[in-house]
Amino acid sequence: MDVLYFAWVRERIGLPKEAVETDAKTVMGLVEELRAREERYALAFSDLSALRVAVDQDLTDFDASITGAREVAFFPPMTGG
């Protein structure tokens, strides 16, 4: 599965995209795995209320299933317009 990072999440983790092998069933499960990896991940995911997540390009929440997902993206609240 591809995991994508945008804006300061991308900057904090230090890369825009990576392939991740996971058995996690939900976004939250994936977050726990990433947090356990390294300090920079723990830091990026320290406050989930400051983050948004999209699974296969649809905005969703951290309880959402990622089973069969091709793409999970983490980013701060949007500031378009």
Partner: protein, 149 residues
């Protein structure tokens, strides 16, 4: 219905004229143009990051939600990404309807959702800082206006 995500500048006046000319028997056209504003009196430039693929998908969803909710002839959404200077146009929406109320409300709705539900992130570089623009609670609250009625 047309959604355009592009790096380069666009000509708001030409876009408005083309959009208007393409309508048939629509009495009301509303447009909104968003422009880079120097909030801190020292802005050098603004960079807009986006999520290719999801951006188009999110904008198309917002535009088609508006088409369902109001009696519209057409909707146009243009949004840029990349580097912009103060006074550059960032984005524009236009709506066409038989009636002015529908055209106004739909444009207002498009802007509210585009602000907080399309995957764009602004970063402002000033002489002394280079910061991601924080989302505003008032923008999130604005969405609630559309959840009833």
């Amino acid at each position: 219905m047309r959604v355009i995500v592009q790096k380069g500048p666009f000509d708001g006046g030409s876009e408005l004229n083309s959009f208007t000319a393409a309508q048939s028997n629509m009495g009301a056209i509303v447009s909104f143009t968003g422009i880079v504003r120097d909030v801190s009196a020292g802005l050098k430039h603004m960079d807009i990051e986006h999520y290719p693929g999801m951006t188009e998908r999110a904008l198309e969803k917002i535009a088609s939600d508006a088409m369902v909710r109001w009696d519209l002839g057409d909707v146009l959404v243009i949004h840029r990404y990349g580097r912009m200077q103060p006074e550059d146009s960032i984005m524009m929406v236009a709506t066409a309807s038989k009636h002015r109320k529908d055209a106004f409300e739909a444009a207002d709705f498009l802007m509210d959702f585009l602000k907080s539900r399309a995957p764009f992130w602004k970063k402002e570089q000033t002489l002394t800082s280079d910061d991601w623009v924080a989302s505003k609670q008032e923008d999130e609250d604005a969405l609630k206006r559309w959840s009833h009625s």
